[in-house]
């Protein structure tokens, strides 16, 4: 089963929830930190890192001896990443979306692909917890392809928890799509509520069951609860503001380690999510046959033959 932890508004406690949920599981669990712009989960999990992989995305390289300056590459490119000007063909790798259109359109077969660095993926573990995160290269604009690469490490046989980035646009979609359940972490404030509504909209577009976790539940007002009630969104857990929790977080300590009584509550949270996601028995070979997991096959296909 895949549980994606998202929020809309930043700083509501996604990483705190994702890490503590992962640390509260007695069985094997996988934590994928897909907030590749600002990955933080490792600061609380302290995994023993085992390997680093440089992730690239294909961008065009033109063989000028073969190029006849016909301009077809610039015609097909929607992103102004390649164009012919005068007697030369220019490429702008940072604008390229890696669609391969220019290479396919070139009648002279003058275009091949080289890699643009997107960032790195690091893998590690801590006891039965399998940890993977992506780190976007500083200066790189496109995070979704790196998020998809992190997700290609999904193991079909275990529980996978995804720490998603904030917002409601393409990076968040990349971190939620194909999940069996989305847990939305919010706070009871006007900013929290406004961004929560946007996040719920995104989850509905994807058709994934979801529930709420209200963090700092005693600061602010009651409007998030009213909204949840009116829209039949289950509130699966509430965490009140507690200076001890904030201070533990500030030092990189997991809540369930500092206050072990929370471990049971996070496990209960998991049990409620499991009920709501209703996965059927998975086939260990294909990972298919689970509720809401129809897109999982696509993730695996994407890693093959270089498709996203």
């Amino acid at each position: 089963m895949i549980i994606s932890i998202a929020s809309g508004k930043g700083g509501t406690g996604k990483t705190m929830v994702a890490t503590n949920l992962a640390l509260s599981m007695d069985s094997d669990v996988q934590l994928l930190d897909c907030d590749v712009e600002e990955p933080n989960a490792h600061l609380f999990i302290h995994p023993a890192l085992e390997g680093t992989e440089i992730i690239t995305t294909p961008v065009p390289q033109v063989d000028e001896d073969k190029c006849t300056l016909c301009g077809k590459c610039g015609e097909i490119c929607q992103f102004k990443a390649i164009l012919v000007i005068g007697e030369t063909v220019l490429t702008f790798h940072e604008l390229c979306h890696s669609c391969g259109g220019c290479m396919a359109a070139c009648p002279e077969e003058a275009i091949t692909e080289i890699g643009r660095d997107l960032g790195i993926i690091e893998r590690g573990h801590r006891n039965g917890l399998d940890f993977v995160h992506g780190r976007l290269r500083v200066g790189e604009a496109m995070s979704p392809p790196l998020i998809r690469k992190v997700r290609s490490h999904t193991r079909p046989d275990t529980l996978t928890i995804i720490d998603a980035p904030p917002g409601t646009s393409c990076p968040v979609i990349a971190a939620m799509q194909g999940a069996d359940f989305v847990l939305l972490v919010t706070e009871p404030t006007p900013f929290g509520l406004y961004d929560l509504k946007l996040a719920v909209g995104a989850v509905k577009i994807l058709g994934i069951p979801c529930g709420l976790l209200i963090n700092r539940s005693d600061m602010g007002d009651d409007k998030v609860k009213e909204y949840a009630h009116e829209n039949d969104l289950p509130i699966l857990m509430e965490i009140p503001f507690d200076r001890r929790i904030a201070e533990a977080y500030s030092r990189g300590k997991a809540l369930v380690e500092v206050m072990p009584e929370w471990k049971e509550k996070f496990f209960e949270l998991y049990s409620r999510i499991e009920e709501m996601a209703m996965p059927t028995t998975p086939s260990p070979l294909t990972g298919e046959g689970r509720g809401g997991g129809g897109n999982r096959k696509i993730w695996h296909e994407r890693t093959r033959d270089h498709k996203w």
């Binding site: 900013f191 961004d195 007002d221 270089h306």
Partner: protein
């Protein structure tokens, strides 16, 4: 002479944080109450919150059109499968329908379809507004849920804010930026006079501040930082400020943890409207004065 910011002409201060939820928008709203002759700009287009405090009266409303989406005409399609083979996004289903969420808008299928069966209309993926507020004019936007092109919309609202400031002969733009370091953040800070990084004394706050500071340096934008909620962990605050100086950031005053941030937000007010003399409000006022010195106003 501050951080090398130009002394004359229009200035734009962009507030960013790396990590979300550090107080960017509340602090920018408080600055709005202190600054004169400025345009407000909300560049956090996919989770825009500044309007919740500013309560803008929309004066101009525009659609934001950007990018294209492939649509297959089932009557013309001969199911030759070429589009499915070429599409790197797996956006075309086995029955030849395009998934709008997966479609990247690259147009490869459109270009190669031998039957010319694929339409490629321009997408409307958001809207943007010019508004009036009790603190002056504001340019803001709303990106459609699950849409792309956030960077282009950010660039657009910043350009419109600049045009508006020129028209009104204002010399300051206050821009609320998005969290992270990716596409919309890059679009938010390019060409800005300075960025103010609002961080918090946590291991995440430090980690994310360093990455966004590196991003500002990469685009040669001078950076300043302030630590919000500093008293939640004074030792970490000190470490963050030391790291910031090592990264050539100017360190401004600290802001204490104060529930007034939440209370003011619930009332739709700035810190100063909620309480003219709070500890946090006074710290923000001091930071504003430091900023004005640094920015040469």
């Amino acid at each position: 002479m501050g951080v090398g910011i130009e002394r004359f002409g229009m200035k734009e201060l962009v507030i960013i944080s790396g990590k979300g939820g550090t107080g960017k928008t509340s602090i920018l709203a408080a600055f709005a109450a202190l600054a004169e002759n400025k345009v407000l700009c909300d560049a956090d287009v996919d989770a825009a919150d500044l309007h919740l405090v500013m309560a803008p009266t929309v004066e101009e409303h525009h659609d934001f059109q950007s990018g294209h989406m492939a649509i297959i005409d089932q009557d013309k399609c001969t199911e030759c499968d070429l589009c499915r083979n070429l599409c790197r996004w797996n956006a075309i289903s086995e029955d030849y329908r395009v998934d709008p969420i997966q479609c990247e808008g690259c147009g490869v299928c459109v270009y190669f379809c031998p039957e010319e069966a694929i339409d490629f209309p321009l997408s409307t993926c958001g809207e943007w507004f010019i508004s009036d507020t009790r603190f002056g004019p504001m340019v803001h936007a709303r990106l459609g849920i699950a849409e792309e092109n956030s960077g282009k919309l950010v660039t657009l609202v910043r350009q419109e804010a600049k045009k508006l400031a020129e028209k009104k002969a204002f010399d300051l733009i206050l821009t609320d930026g998005p969290p992270g370091i990716g596409c919309p953040v890059i679009a938010s800070i390019g060409g800005a006079s300075a960025v103010l990084i609002v961080t918090e004394p946590t291991v995440s706050g430090k980690h994310d501040m360093v990455r966004v500071a590196q991003l500002a340096a990469h685009f040669k934008v001078p950076g300043m930082i302030c630590v919000n909620k500093f008293d939640l962990n004074p030792e970490e605050t000190q470490i963050i400020e030391d790291v910031a100086r090592e990264n050539d950031l100017v360190v401004l005053s600290r802001i204490p943890f104060d529930p007034i941030f939440t209370k003011a937000m619930v009332q739709g007010q700035t810190l100063f409207e909620y309480n003219t003399n709070s500890e946090a409000g006074n710290a923000v006022r001091k930071i504003w004065e430091e900023l004005m010195v640094r920015m040469g106003s």
